[in-house]
Symmetry: C2
Subunit: 119 residues, 2 copies
DNA sequence: TGAATATTTGAACAACTATTCAAGTATATT
DNA sequence: AATATACTTGAATAGTTGTTCAAATATTCA
């Protein structure tokens, strides 16, 4: 029997069809998720956010972001392995810098939108 | 003794000072991380991406995103508790939709940038 | 009221992740 | 060569997270 919801549910069905057609491929999905995952840790986000201000060595990054040098180093490795940052040796020091500007834009957008929210 | 790195290291130090001044506050950092964390799971990202196409009920979402109804429901709860989506009862169904357009923009940017990459 | 459909929920379990600590490598200085 | 500084790495551990399964709730319809 036709009830008041039929129209709305038909729309849902049409939306589902469109959504199914436009779904992200397995590899695209995995790549986008991986980026978000890397940015989901406070330590790593701090590092990326700090490097957006300029190049720095591990000691300075640790000073800015807190924690131990070892923990920061582990996080730097993850970010580097995933192409978000890059490293260059300068004598005894390693100079870290941003490798993927796209990721910076995503971070900048997220921070900007956060500040828009009124709660 | 002055070596070739001094200038660069002095720059690092100045960058560190700037980075320290501009660091995200504890709560801002946590909120941005939380958003990224919610988007870092393939199931949840699929859900958000699907809802960007329009409103849908749990059954349709499960059809689009795969997995079991229970798993999708658990993920919907997390997204809802964090204000990313909202729900409305329509008879026996729940109609889920986007609550935070900012998050959609972040997802859209991430997907768009992914497609720019040449590798 | 009772059966059917749609969704939620809690508990348990397996998989993953971040940190710590100790030991390792790399470079510079003496 | 020996020491100091800067950083990395591996293993262990504790905490977190996603999924599953079974049971519960909510609504509709006969």
């Amino acid at each position: 029997m036709a009830n008041i919801d039929c129209e709305r549910l038909a729309e849902h069905s049409a939306t589902a069809k469109r959504a199914k057609e436009g779904i992200l491929s397995g590899t695209d999905l995995a790549r986008v998720c991986r980026i978000f995952q890397l940015l989901s840790d406070p330590g790593r986000l701090n590092i990326v956010y700090a490097l957006m201000k300029g190049e720095m060595c591990v000691h300075h990054l640790t000073e800015v972001c807190g924690g131990t040098v070892s923990a920061v180093s582990h996080q730097l490795r993850l970010l580097r392995e995933n192409g978000i940052i890059k490293a260059k040796r300068i004598g005894q020091h390693m100079e870290y810098s941003i490798a993927d500007e796209h990721v910076c834009e995503i971070v900048a957008l997220a921070v900007k939108h956060l500040e828009c929210e009124v709660d």
